[in-house]
Amino acid sequence: MWHKTFAGFLSGTIVMILVPSILSLWLVTHINMILAISLVLALSAWAGVMTWCYGADSAKQAWKRAGLLAIPTIIIFVITFFTAAGPTG
Protein backbone atom coordinates (compact mmCIF):
# COMPACT_ATOMS: atom_id res chain seq x y z
CA MET A 1 0.00 0.00 0.00
CA TRP A 2 2.92 2.37 0.70
CA HIS A 3 4.16 1.88 -2.88
CA LYS A 4 0.76 2.82 -4.24
CA THR A 5 0.71 5.86 -1.96
CA PHE A 6 4.13 7.16 -3.02
CA ALA A 7 3.56 6.37 -6.71
CA GLY A 8 0.22 8.21 -6.69
CA PHE A 9 1.47 11.12 -4.62
CA LEU A 10 4.56 11.74 -6.77
CA SER A 11 2.83 11.30 -10.08
CA GLY A 12 -0.12 13.41 -8.90
CA THR A 13 2.20 16.22 -7.81
CA ILE A 14 3.96 16.21 -11.19
CA VAL A 15 0.69 16.24 -13.13
CA MET A 16 -0.89 18.83 -10.82
CA ILE A 17 2.01 21.28 -11.29
CA LEU A 18 3.20 20.62 -14.83
CA VAL A 19 -0.06 20.37 -16.81
CA PRO A 20 -1.20 23.91 -15.84
CA SER A 21 2.40 25.07 -16.36
CA ILE A 22 2.49 23.68 -19.91
CA LEU A 23 -0.82 25.36 -20.72
CA SER A 24 0.38 28.64 -19.19
CA LEU A 25 3.63 28.63 -21.15
CA TRP A 26 1.67 28.35 -24.39
CA LEU A 27 -1.33 30.51 -23.47
CA VAL A 28 0.43 33.40 -21.74
CA THR A 29 -2.53 35.78 -21.90
CA HIS A 30 -4.76 33.30 -20.07
CA ILE A 31 -2.49 32.48 -17.11
CA ASN A 32 -4.87 33.99 -14.57
CA MET A 33 -7.75 31.86 -15.86
CA ILE A 34 -5.57 28.72 -16.01
CA LEU A 35 -4.52 29.27 -12.40
CA ALA A 36 -8.14 29.73 -11.34
CA ILE A 37 -9.22 26.51 -13.06
CA SER A 38 -6.18 24.73 -11.62
CA LEU A 39 -7.29 25.54 -8.08
CA VAL A 40 -10.26 23.24 -8.66
CA LEU A 41 -9.21 20.83 -11.39
CA ALA A 42 -5.47 20.35 -10.77
CA LEU A 43 -5.97 19.71 -7.05
CA SER A 44 -8.81 17.28 -7.84
CA ALA A 45 -6.63 15.62 -10.50
CA TRP A 46 -3.95 15.07 -7.85
CA ALA A 47 -6.43 13.02 -5.81
CA GLY A 48 -7.66 11.39 -9.04
CA VAL A 49 -4.16 10.15 -9.94
CA MET A 50 -3.69 8.78 -6.43
CA THR A 51 -7.05 7.01 -6.66
CA TRP A 52 -6.04 5.45 -9.99
CA CYS A 53 -2.83 4.15 -8.44
CA TYR A 54 -4.73 2.71 -5.47
CA GLY A 55 -6.90 0.82 -7.97
CA ALA A 56 -3.81 -1.04 -9.25
CA ASP A 57 -3.52 -4.78 -8.53
CA SER A 58 0.14 -4.57 -7.44
CA ALA A 59 2.85 -2.11 -6.47
CA LYS A 60 4.48 -2.62 -9.88
CA GLN A 61 1.27 -1.79 -11.71
CA ALA A 62 0.81 1.30 -9.51
CA TRP A 63 4.31 2.58 -10.45
CA LYS A 64 3.55 1.80 -14.12
CA ARG A 65 0.38 3.84 -13.95
CA ALA A 66 2.22 6.66 -12.21
CA GLY A 67 4.96 6.61 -14.87
CA LEU A 68 2.42 6.50 -17.66
CA LEU A 69 1.10 9.86 -16.53
CA ALA A 70 4.22 11.50 -15.15
CA ILE A 71 6.84 10.69 -17.85
CA PRO A 72 4.93 12.07 -20.88
CA THR A 73 3.96 15.12 -18.79
CA ILE A 74 7.63 15.77 -17.93
CA ILE A 75 8.74 15.30 -21.57
CA ILE A 76 6.06 17.66 -22.89
CA PHE A 77 6.93 20.19 -20.18
CA VAL A 78 10.66 20.13 -20.98
CA ILE A 79 9.96 20.63 -24.70
CA THR A 80 7.52 23.45 -23.93
CA PHE A 81 9.87 25.08 -21.42
CA PHE A 82 12.63 25.40 -24.04
CA THR A 83 10.40 26.35 -26.96
CA ALA A 84 7.57 28.52 -25.64
CA ALA A 85 8.35 32.12 -24.68
CA GLY A 86 6.25 32.11 -21.52
CA PRO A 87 5.36 35.24 -19.52
CA THR A 88 8.99 36.10 -18.73
CA GLY A 89 10.04 36.12 -22.39
Binding site: I17, P20, S21, S24, L35, A36, S38, A47, G86
Partner: protein, 520 residues
Protein backbone atom coordinates in the same frame (compact mmCIF):
# COMPACT_ATOMS: atom_id res chain seq x y z
CA UNK B 1 -15.23 -1.91 -13.16
CA UNK B 2 -13.23 -5.07 -12.53
CA UNK B 3 -13.90 -6.94 -9.31
CA UNK B 4 -10.20 -6.78 -8.38
CA UNK B 5 -10.15 -2.98 -8.82
CA UNK B 6 -13.18 -2.67 -6.59
CA UNK B 7 -11.43 -4.82 -3.99
CA UNK B 8 -8.32 -2.64 -4.23
CA UNK B 9 -10.40 0.51 -3.72
CA UNK B 10 -12.15 -1.04 -0.72
CA UNK B 11 -8.81 -2.05 0.79
CA UNK B 12 -7.31 1.42 0.16
CA UNK B 13 -10.43 3.15 1.55
CA UNK B 14 -10.24 1.17 4.82
CA UNK B 15 -6.45 1.46 5.17
CA UNK B 16 -6.31 5.19 4.46
CA UNK B 17 -9.33 5.77 6.66
CA UNK B 18 -7.71 4.15 9.66
CA UNK B 19 -4.45 6.05 9.15
CA UNK B 20 -5.97 9.51 8.86
CA UNK B 21 -9.04 9.02 11.07
CA UNK B 22 -7.44 10.54 14.18
CA UNK B 23 -6.33 13.79 12.57
CA UNK B 24 -9.50 13.93 10.49
CA UNK B 25 -11.68 13.57 13.58
CA UNK B 26 -9.87 16.44 15.34
CA UNK B 27 -10.16 18.56 12.18
CA UNK B 28 -13.88 17.83 11.80
CA UNK B 29 -14.92 18.18 15.47
CA UNK B 30 -12.89 21.35 16.03
CA UNK B 31 -13.84 22.69 12.58
CA UNK B 32 -17.54 22.10 13.21
CA UNK B 33 -17.34 23.97 16.51
CA UNK B 34 -15.27 26.70 14.83
CA UNK B 35 -18.26 27.73 12.72
CA UNK B 36 -19.33 29.37 15.98
CA UNK B 37 -15.91 30.76 16.86
CA UNK B 38 -17.10 34.30 17.67
CA UNK B 39 -20.19 32.90 19.36
CA UNK B 40 -17.98 30.74 21.60
CA UNK B 41 -16.00 33.83 22.67
CA UNK B 42 -19.26 35.55 23.59
CA UNK B 43 -20.55 32.40 25.35
CA UNK B 44 -17.29 32.20 27.28
CA UNK B 45 -17.52 35.85 28.39
CA UNK B 46 -21.09 35.91 29.63
CA UNK B 47 -20.46 35.54 33.37
CA UNK B 48 -17.12 37.31 33.50
CA UNK B 49 -16.89 40.30 31.23
CA UNK B 50 -17.71 42.79 29.96
CA UNK B 51 -20.49 43.99 32.28
CA UNK B 52 -22.21 45.93 29.58
CA UNK B 53 -25.75 45.76 28.30
CA UNK B 54 -25.02 44.45 24.83
CA UNK B 55 -28.65 44.40 23.73
CA UNK B 56 -29.37 48.07 24.36
CA UNK B 57 -26.53 49.56 22.34
CA UNK B 58 -28.06 52.18 20.09
CA UNK B 59 -25.34 54.75 19.84
CA UNK B 60 -21.82 53.77 18.82
CA UNK B 61 -18.77 55.94 19.22
CA UNK B 62 -16.98 56.51 15.90
CA UNK B 63 -14.02 54.34 15.04
CA UNK B 64 -11.67 57.33 15.25
CA UNK B 65 -12.26 57.39 19.04
CA UNK B 66 -10.85 53.88 19.28
CA UNK B 67 -7.92 54.66 16.95
CA UNK B 68 -7.07 57.77 19.00
CA UNK B 69 -7.12 55.76 22.23
CA UNK B 70 -4.69 53.25 20.75
CA UNK B 71 -2.52 56.02 19.32
CA UNK B 72 -2.42 57.80 22.70
CA UNK B 73 -1.02 54.70 24.36
CA UNK B 74 2.29 55.71 22.76
CA UNK B 75 3.38 52.32 21.50
CA UNK B 76 6.12 51.96 18.92
CA UNK B 77 4.60 50.08 16.02
CA UNK B 78 6.52 48.46 13.15
CA UNK B 79 5.84 50.47 9.97
CA UNK B 80 4.92 47.41 7.94
CA UNK B 81 2.22 46.33 10.42
CA UNK B 82 -1.28 47.72 10.66
CA UNK B 83 -3.53 48.46 13.61
CA UNK B 84 -6.48 46.21 12.98
CA UNK B 85 -9.84 47.44 14.33
CA UNK B 86 -12.94 45.26 13.99
CA UNK B 87 -16.25 47.07 14.18
CA UNK B 88 -18.98 45.73 16.51
CA UNK B 89 -21.24 43.04 15.09
CA UNK B 90 -24.10 40.98 16.50
CA UNK B 91 -21.77 38.07 17.26
CA UNK B 92 -19.03 40.34 18.64
CA UNK B 93 -20.82 43.42 19.97
CA UNK B 94 -17.78 45.54 20.84
CA UNK B 95 -14.72 46.99 19.13
CA UNK B 96 -11.75 44.63 18.98
CA UNK B 97 -8.26 45.70 17.98
CA UNK B 98 -5.15 43.69 17.21
CA UNK B 99 -1.72 45.15 16.62
CA UNK B 100 1.94 44.47 17.10
CA UNK B 101 4.26 46.67 19.15
CA UNK B 102 8.01 46.91 19.28
CA UNK B 103 9.57 46.85 22.75
CA UNK B 104 12.72 48.92 23.57
CA UNK B 105 14.63 45.62 23.31
CA UNK B 106 13.46 45.29 19.70
CA UNK B 107 11.07 42.43 20.38
CA UNK B 108 7.70 42.31 18.63
CA UNK B 109 4.73 41.65 20.93
CA UNK B 110 1.11 41.00 19.85
CA UNK B 111 -1.48 43.15 21.60
CA UNK B 112 -5.21 42.63 21.68
CA UNK B 113 -7.65 45.16 23.14
CA UNK B 114 -11.44 45.45 23.31
CA UNK B 115 -13.51 48.62 23.64
CA UNK B 116 -17.04 49.43 24.75
CA UNK B 117 -18.98 50.48 21.62
CA UNK B 118 -21.11 53.03 23.55
CA UNK B 119 -18.46 54.81 25.58
CA UNK B 120 -15.26 53.83 23.79
CA UNK B 121 -13.76 52.82 27.14
CA UNK B 122 -11.28 50.01 27.04
CA UNK B 123 -12.53 46.82 28.62
CA UNK B 124 -10.36 45.18 31.22
CA UNK B 125 -10.58 42.16 29.02
CA UNK B 126 -7.86 40.08 27.50
CA UNK B 127 -8.99 37.96 24.56
CA UNK B 128 -6.50 35.35 25.79
CA UNK B 129 -8.88 34.79 28.73
CA UNK B 130 -11.52 33.69 26.23
CA UNK B 131 -9.33 31.51 24.13
CA UNK B 132 -11.56 28.48 23.57
CA UNK B 133 -13.06 29.58 20.22
CA UNK B 134 -9.67 30.51 18.82
CA UNK B 135 -8.04 27.36 20.18
CA UNK B 136 -10.60 25.14 18.46
CA UNK B 137 -10.01 27.02 15.20
CA UNK B 138 -6.23 26.72 15.50
CA UNK B 139 -6.61 23.04 16.31
CA UNK B 140 -8.73 22.73 13.17
CA UNK B 141 -6.22 24.34 10.84
CA UNK B 142 -2.92 23.13 12.25
CA UNK B 143 -3.55 20.84 15.26
CA UNK B 144 -1.41 23.44 17.11
CA UNK B 145 1.64 21.37 16.21
CA UNK B 146 4.79 22.35 14.32
CA UNK B 147 4.22 21.34 10.70
CA UNK B 148 0.55 20.84 11.54
CA UNK B 149 -0.67 22.92 8.60
CA UNK B 150 1.11 20.65 6.13
CA UNK B 151 -0.06 17.56 8.00
CA UNK B 152 -3.68 18.74 7.80
CA UNK B 153 -3.09 19.44 4.08
CA UNK B 154 -1.85 15.88 3.46
CA UNK B 155 -4.75 14.48 5.47
CA UNK B 156 -7.17 16.61 3.40
CA UNK B 157 -5.63 15.22 0.21
CA UNK B 158 -6.01 11.65 1.46
CA UNK B 159 -9.55 12.49 2.53
CA UNK B 160 -10.22 13.64 -1.05
CA UNK B 161 -8.85 10.29 -2.27
CA UNK B 162 -11.18 8.56 0.20
CA UNK B 163 -14.14 10.53 -1.12
CA UNK B 164 -13.16 9.34 -4.65
CA UNK B 165 -12.61 5.69 -3.64
CA UNK B 166 -15.79 5.66 -1.53
CA UNK B 167 -17.82 7.02 -4.46
CA UNK B 168 -16.28 4.47 -6.86
CA UNK B 169 -16.97 1.60 -4.44
CA UNK B 170 -20.65 2.55 -4.30
CA UNK B 171 -20.98 3.85 -7.85
CA UNK B 172 -22.73 0.82 -9.30
CA UNK B 173 -25.26 0.55 -6.50
CA UNK B 174 -25.38 4.20 -5.48
CA UNK B 175 -29.18 4.38 -5.72
CA UNK B 176 -30.05 0.97 -4.29
CA UNK B 177 -27.57 1.27 -1.40
CA UNK B 178 -28.85 4.73 -0.57
CA UNK B 179 -32.23 3.30 0.43
CA UNK B 180 -30.74 0.28 2.15
CA UNK B 181 -30.58 0.43 5.91
CA UNK B 182 -30.65 -3.06 7.37
CA UNK B 183 -31.59 -2.75 11.00
CA UNK B 184 -31.93 -6.48 11.52
CA UNK B 185 -28.24 -7.28 11.10
CA UNK B 186 -25.79 -5.72 13.49
CA UNK B 187 -22.70 -5.28 11.34
CA UNK B 188 -24.52 -3.99 8.30
CA UNK B 189 -26.20 -1.25 10.31
CA UNK B 190 -22.87 0.59 10.54
CA UNK B 191 -22.00 -0.14 6.95
CA UNK B 192 -25.39 1.04 5.74
CA UNK B 193 -25.22 4.16 7.90
CA UNK B 194 -21.69 4.80 6.64
CA UNK B 195 -22.87 4.47 3.02
CA UNK B 196 -26.03 6.56 3.42
CA UNK B 197 -24.23 9.42 5.14
CA UNK B 198 -21.29 9.14 2.76
CA UNK B 199 -23.56 9.55 -0.26
CA UNK B 200 -25.76 12.22 1.35
CA UNK B 201 -22.84 14.39 2.39
CA UNK B 202 -20.85 13.89 -0.83
CA UNK B 203 -20.97 17.54 -2.05
CA UNK B 204 -20.03 18.74 1.44
CA UNK B 205 -17.17 16.26 1.93
CA UNK B 206 -15.82 16.92 -1.57
CA UNK B 207 -15.92 20.67 -1.00
CA UNK B 208 -14.20 20.44 2.39
CA UNK B 209 -11.54 18.01 1.22
CA UNK B 210 -10.79 20.18 -1.84
CA UNK B 211 -10.69 23.46 0.09
CA UNK B 212 -8.60 21.78 2.80
CA UNK B 213 -6.03 20.86 0.16
CA UNK B 214 -6.30 24.36 -1.33
CA UNK B 215 -5.70 26.16 2.00
CA UNK B 216 -2.88 23.94 3.22
CA UNK B 217 -1.13 22.52 0.15
CA UNK B 218 -1.75 24.96 -2.74
CA UNK B 219 1.62 26.43 -1.74
CA UNK B 220 3.07 23.45 -3.65
CA UNK B 221 1.10 24.41 -6.77
CA UNK B 222 2.10 28.04 -6.29
CA UNK B 223 5.80 27.29 -5.81
CA UNK B 224 5.96 24.70 -8.60
CA UNK B 225 4.05 26.95 -10.99
CA UNK B 226 6.21 29.91 -10.01
CA UNK B 227 9.39 28.04 -10.89
CA UNK B 228 8.05 26.27 -13.97
CA UNK B 229 6.35 29.27 -15.59
CA UNK B 230 7.80 32.41 -13.97
CA UNK B 231 11.32 31.01 -13.55
CA UNK B 232 11.22 31.61 -9.79
CA UNK B 233 9.82 35.13 -9.91
CA UNK B 234 7.08 34.56 -7.31
CA UNK B 235 6.13 38.31 -7.01
CA UNK B 236 5.40 38.27 -10.79
CA UNK B 237 3.18 35.23 -10.27
CA UNK B 238 1.33 36.96 -7.41
CA UNK B 239 0.88 40.08 -9.55
CA UNK B 240 -0.56 37.95 -12.38
CA UNK B 241 -2.90 36.14 -10.00
CA UNK B 242 -3.85 39.61 -8.64
CA UNK B 243 -4.30 38.64 -5.00
CA UNK B 244 -4.82 41.54 -2.61
CA UNK B 245 -1.57 43.13 -1.43
CA UNK B 246 -1.79 45.32 1.73
CA UNK B 247 -0.25 48.81 1.65
CA UNK B 248 3.47 49.10 2.29
CA UNK B 249 4.61 52.35 3.88
CA UNK B 250 8.17 52.93 2.73
CA UNK B 251 8.84 56.35 4.21
CA UNK B 252 7.28 58.26 7.09
CA UNK B 253 6.62 62.03 6.81
CA UNK B 254 7.12 62.84 10.49
CA UNK B 255 3.83 64.81 10.48
CA UNK B 256 1.05 63.60 12.84
CA UNK B 257 -2.04 62.23 11.16
CA UNK B 258 -5.59 63.46 11.75
CA UNK B 259 -7.37 60.30 12.85
CA UNK B 260 -10.86 61.85 12.52
CA UNK B 261 -10.36 61.21 8.80
CA UNK B 262 -11.11 57.56 9.60
CA UNK B 263 -14.77 58.45 10.16
CA UNK B 264 -14.93 60.20 6.77
CA UNK B 265 -13.37 57.12 5.16
CA UNK B 266 -15.98 54.86 6.75
CA UNK B 267 -18.76 57.17 5.52
CA UNK B 268 -17.24 57.30 2.03
CA UNK B 269 -16.94 53.50 1.91
CA UNK B 270 -20.59 53.14 2.97
CA UNK B 271 -21.64 55.64 0.31
CA UNK B 272 -19.76 53.76 -2.41
CA UNK B 273 -21.07 50.34 -1.36
CA UNK B 274 -24.44 51.00 0.32
CA UNK B 275 -25.40 47.32 0.28
CA UNK B 276 -22.27 46.36 2.25
CA UNK B 277 -21.21 47.00 5.84
CA UNK B 278 -17.79 47.92 7.20
CA UNK B 279 -16.12 44.86 8.70
CA UNK B 280 -12.75 46.23 9.82
CA UNK B 281 -10.17 48.96 9.36
CA UNK B 282 -6.48 48.29 9.12
CA UNK B 283 -4.48 51.45 9.81
CA UNK B 284 -0.88 51.35 8.60
CA UNK B 285 1.44 53.88 10.30
CA UNK B 286 -1.46 55.40 12.31
CA UNK B 287 0.63 58.21 13.80
CA UNK B 288 1.92 59.59 10.51
CA UNK B 289 0.43 61.44 7.54
CA UNK B 290 2.18 59.01 5.19
CA UNK B 291 0.01 56.25 6.65
CA UNK B 292 -2.70 54.44 4.74
CA UNK B 293 -5.97 52.90 5.81
CA UNK B 294 -7.56 49.78 4.45
CA UNK B 295 -11.35 49.74 4.90
CA UNK B 296 -12.78 46.24 4.41
CA UNK B 297 -16.44 45.89 3.47
CA UNK B 298 -18.50 42.75 3.62
CA UNK B 299 -21.92 41.80 2.32
CA UNK B 300 -24.17 39.12 3.77
CA UNK B 301 -25.55 36.33 1.63
CA UNK B 302 -23.03 36.61 -1.18
CA UNK B 303 -20.04 34.46 -2.04
CA UNK B 304 -17.90 37.53 -2.69
CA UNK B 305 -15.50 38.00 0.16
CA UNK B 306 -14.14 41.36 1.26
CA UNK B 307 -14.15 44.54 -0.80
CA UNK B 308 -11.13 46.58 0.24
CA UNK B 309 -10.74 50.33 -0.14
CA UNK B 310 -7.37 51.95 0.56
CA UNK B 311 -7.31 55.59 1.71
CA UNK B 312 -4.52 58.06 2.40
CA UNK B 313 -4.15 59.33 5.97
CA UNK B 314 -2.83 62.63 4.61
CA UNK B 315 -6.12 63.91 3.19
CA UNK B 316 -8.50 60.94 3.29
CA UNK B 317 -8.53 60.45 -0.49
CA UNK B 318 -9.27 57.04 -1.98
CA UNK B 319 -6.11 55.43 -3.41
CA UNK B 320 -7.24 51.96 -4.47
CA UNK B 321 -10.32 49.73 -4.69
CA UNK B 322 -10.04 45.97 -4.70
CA UNK B 323 -12.62 43.20 -5.04
CA UNK B 324 -11.52 39.55 -5.41
CA UNK B 325 -13.86 39.08 -8.39
CA UNK B 326 -11.69 41.46 -10.44
CA UNK B 327 -9.25 38.53 -10.86
CA UNK B 328 -10.18 34.99 -11.92
CA UNK B 329 -7.72 33.34 -9.52
CA UNK B 330 -8.41 35.56 -6.49
CA UNK B 331 -12.15 35.34 -7.23
CA UNK B 332 -12.10 31.53 -7.37
CA UNK B 333 -10.07 31.36 -4.17
CA UNK B 334 -12.47 33.77 -2.50
CA UNK B 335 -15.59 31.83 -3.59
CA UNK B 336 -14.10 28.50 -2.44
CA UNK B 337 -13.14 30.10 0.89
CA UNK B 338 -16.68 31.46 1.35
CA UNK B 339 -18.10 28.02 0.61
CA UNK B 340 -15.75 26.53 3.21
CA UNK B 341 -16.56 28.99 6.00
CA UNK B 342 -20.29 29.22 5.27
CA UNK B 343 -20.41 32.89 6.25
CA UNK B 344 -22.61 33.78 3.31
CA UNK B 345 -25.59 31.82 4.64
CA UNK B 346 -25.67 33.28 8.14
CA UNK B 347 -26.39 31.24 11.26
CA UNK B 348 -28.76 28.85 9.45
CA UNK B 349 -26.13 27.67 7.01
CA UNK B 350 -23.49 27.49 9.72
CA UNK B 351 -25.81 25.24 11.69
CA UNK B 352 -26.41 23.01 8.65
CA UNK B 353 -22.64 22.85 8.13
CA UNK B 354 -22.24 21.96 11.81
CA UNK B 355 -24.70 19.05 11.46
CA UNK B 356 -22.94 17.87 8.30
CA UNK B 357 -19.65 18.01 10.21
CA UNK B 358 -21.14 15.75 12.88
CA UNK B 359 -22.35 13.42 10.12
CA UNK B 360 -18.74 13.15 8.91
CA UNK B 361 -17.68 12.31 12.48
CA UNK B 362 -20.26 9.51 12.38
CA UNK B 363 -18.61 8.19 9.22
CA UNK B 364 -15.17 8.28 10.83
CA UNK B 365 -16.34 6.49 13.98
CA UNK B 366 -18.34 3.80 12.15
CA UNK B 367 -15.55 3.30 9.61
CA UNK B 368 -13.05 2.71 12.41
CA UNK B 369 -15.40 0.37 14.22
CA UNK B 370 -16.02 -1.73 11.10
CA UNK B 371 -12.28 -2.08 10.47
CA UNK B 372 -11.31 -2.79 14.08
CA UNK B 373 -14.07 -5.33 14.73
CA UNK B 374 -13.05 -7.18 11.59
CA UNK B 375 -9.48 -7.35 12.91
CA UNK B 376 -10.63 -8.35 16.39
CA UNK B 377 -12.38 -11.37 14.90
CA UNK B 378 -9.27 -12.32 12.90
CA UNK B 379 -7.31 -14.91 14.89
CA UNK B 380 -4.12 -14.34 12.86
CA UNK B 381 -4.00 -10.66 13.89
CA UNK B 382 -1.19 -9.74 16.32
CA UNK B 383 -2.93 -9.02 19.64
CA UNK B 384 -0.38 -6.43 20.84
CA UNK B 385 -0.43 -4.57 17.52
CA UNK B 386 -4.21 -4.54 17.45
CA UNK B 387 -4.34 -3.32 21.05
CA UNK B 388 -2.15 -0.35 20.15
CA UNK B 389 -4.15 0.50 17.00
CA UNK B 390 -7.38 0.15 18.98
CA UNK B 391 -6.18 2.45 21.78
CA UNK B 392 -4.91 5.07 19.32
CA UNK B 393 -8.06 4.95 17.24
CA UNK B 394 -10.36 5.23 20.25
CA UNK B 395 -8.31 8.07 21.74
CA UNK B 396 -8.30 10.08 18.55
CA UNK B 397 -11.91 9.42 17.54
CA UNK B 398 -14.31 9.21 20.50
CA UNK B 399 -11.53 10.66 22.69
CA UNK B 400 -11.58 13.87 20.62
CA UNK B 401 -15.22 14.41 21.61
CA UNK B 402 -14.24 14.01 25.27
CA UNK B 403 -11.29 16.39 24.86
CA UNK B 404 -13.45 19.09 23.23
CA UNK B 405 -16.21 18.74 25.85
CA UNK B 406 -13.58 18.99 28.61
CA UNK B 407 -12.19 22.24 27.20
CA UNK B 408 -15.70 23.73 27.26
CA UNK B 409 -16.04 22.75 30.93
CA UNK B 410 -12.62 24.19 31.74
CA UNK B 411 -13.45 27.42 29.92
CA UNK B 412 -16.66 27.76 31.92
CA UNK B 413 -15.50 26.71 35.41
CA UNK B 414 -11.76 27.40 35.66
CA UNK B 415 -10.94 30.41 37.88
CA UNK B 416 -10.52 33.71 36.03
CA UNK B 417 -6.94 33.92 37.27
CA UNK B 418 -6.01 30.83 35.22
CA UNK B 419 -4.87 31.65 31.73
CA UNK B 420 -6.93 29.74 29.17
CA UNK B 421 -4.02 29.88 26.76
CA UNK B 422 -1.94 27.86 29.21
CA UNK B 423 -4.79 25.64 30.37
CA UNK B 424 -6.84 24.52 27.37
CA UNK B 425 -4.31 23.04 24.88
CA UNK B 426 -2.58 20.89 27.54
CA UNK B 427 -5.99 19.80 28.85
CA UNK B 428 -6.95 18.73 25.32
CA UNK B 429 -3.78 16.64 25.09
CA UNK B 430 -4.21 15.14 28.58
CA UNK B 431 -7.78 14.04 27.82
CA UNK B 432 -6.60 12.35 24.60
CA UNK B 433 -3.93 10.59 26.67
CA UNK B 434 -6.49 9.45 29.25
CA UNK B 435 -8.65 8.05 26.44
CA UNK B 436 -5.58 6.30 25.00
CA UNK B 437 -4.96 4.57 28.33
CA UNK B 438 -8.65 3.70 28.61
CA UNK B 439 -8.62 2.32 25.04
CA UNK B 440 -5.53 0.21 25.83
CA UNK B 441 -7.30 -1.52 28.72
CA UNK B 442 -10.69 -1.87 26.99
CA UNK B 443 -11.61 -5.49 26.39
CA UNK B 444 -13.12 -4.84 22.99
CA UNK B 445 -13.30 -1.87 20.72
CA UNK B 446 -17.05 -1.53 20.78
CA UNK B 447 -17.26 -1.56 24.58
CA UNK B 448 -14.45 1.01 24.80
CA UNK B 449 -16.11 3.29 22.29
CA UNK B 450 -19.48 3.08 24.02
CA UNK B 451 -17.91 4.02 27.38
CA UNK B 452 -16.03 6.94 25.85
CA UNK B 453 -19.11 8.17 24.00
CA UNK B 454 -21.15 8.03 27.23
CA UNK B 455 -18.44 10.05 28.96
CA UNK B 456 -18.37 12.57 26.08
CA UNK B 457 -22.18 12.94 26.21
CA UNK B 458 -22.17 13.56 29.96
CA UNK B 459 -19.32 16.06 29.69
CA UNK B 460 -20.99 17.87 26.78
CA UNK B 461 -24.19 18.30 28.82
CA UNK B 462 -22.56 19.84 31.89
CA UNK B 463 -22.21 23.40 30.55
CA UNK B 464 -25.70 23.57 28.97
CA UNK B 465 -27.23 22.33 32.25
CA UNK B 466 -25.25 24.84 34.27
CA UNK B 467 -26.27 27.65 31.89
CA UNK B 468 -29.90 26.58 32.10
CA UNK B 469 -29.84 26.63 35.91
CA UNK B 470 -28.11 30.02 35.90
CA UNK B 471 -30.77 31.36 33.55
CA UNK B 472 -33.63 29.99 35.66
CA UNK B 473 -32.09 31.52 38.79
CA UNK B 474 -31.75 34.84 36.95
CA UNK B 475 -27.96 34.94 37.14
CA UNK B 476 -27.38 35.21 33.40
CA UNK B 477 -26.79 38.81 32.31
CA UNK B 478 -29.92 39.66 30.23
CA UNK B 479 -27.80 41.01 27.38
CA UNK B 480 -26.35 37.54 26.83
CA UNK B 481 -29.74 35.88 26.40
CA UNK B 482 -29.38 36.11 22.64
CA UNK B 483 -29.38 33.62 19.78
CA UNK B 484 -25.65 34.05 19.20
CA UNK B 485 -24.90 32.69 22.67
CA UNK B 486 -27.62 30.05 22.67
CA UNK B 487 -26.24 28.63 19.42
CA UNK B 488 -23.18 27.42 21.33
CA UNK B 489 -25.32 25.79 24.02
CA UNK B 490 -27.46 24.10 21.37
CA UNK B 491 -24.32 22.89 19.58
CA UNK B 492 -23.11 21.27 22.82
CA UNK B 493 -26.47 19.59 23.39
CA UNK B 494 -26.36 18.29 19.81
CA UNK B 495 -22.88 16.86 20.36
CA UNK B 496 -24.21 15.06 23.46
CA UNK B 497 -27.21 13.81 21.44
CA UNK B 498 -24.87 12.65 18.68
CA UNK B 499 -22.81 10.63 21.18
CA UNK B 500 -25.92 9.04 22.71
CA UNK B 501 -27.26 8.21 19.25
CA UNK B 502 -24.00 6.46 18.43
CA UNK B 503 -24.12 4.57 21.75
CA UNK B 504 -27.63 3.41 20.90
CA UNK B 505 -26.49 2.14 17.50
CA UNK B 506 -23.28 0.58 18.76
CA UNK B 507 -24.73 -1.23 21.74
CA UNK B 508 -24.88 -4.99 21.09
CA UNK B 509 -28.41 -6.15 20.57
CA UNK B 510 -29.99 -8.40 23.14
CA UNK B 511 -30.68 -11.88 21.83
CA UNK B 512 -34.29 -12.41 20.95
CA UNK B 513 -36.07 -15.43 22.34
CA UNK B 514 -38.92 -17.21 20.80
CA UNK B 515 -41.61 -16.98 23.45
CA UNK B 516 -44.34 -18.72 21.51
CA UNK B 517 -45.65 -21.76 23.35
CA UNK B 518 -44.40 -25.00 21.98
CA UNK B 519 -47.03 -26.98 20.17
CA UNK B 520 -47.03 -30.57 20.98
Amino acid sequence: MKQSTLKNFTHAHAWLGLIISGVLMIVFVCGSMSFFRENIVLWDMQYDAPKTDLASQRHQVPVSTIAKQISNQGHTMPADHGVFIELPTQAQPFYVSYFEIETPEGEHVDVNQSFDPETGQRYELDQADFYLGNMLYRMHISLMLPGGTELVGIVSLIFLVMVCTGTLILLKKIISHYYQYRVDRRKDTYLDGHSIIGISTLPYTFLFALTGVMFNLSILLQAGFGFAVFKGNIPALMATADFYAPPRIKELSGQPADLTLLDDMVEDAKRRYPEQSVYFLNVFAPNDQAGQVEVAMTEHHTLDQLTRLTYSLEDGRLIKEYTPSQSATAGTYSVLSSLHFGEYGGNTLKFIYFLLGLACCYMILTGNLIWLEKRENNRKQSKRGLQFVKAMTLALSSGTLIAVASTFIAARFAPESWSQVSLLPPLFGVMILVCLIHGWFSKNVRGGMIQQLYAAAILALICPLYDLIQMLLGHTPPSYLIVDVWLVTIAQVLVAGFCLLLVRHHRPRAKTFNLEPAIN
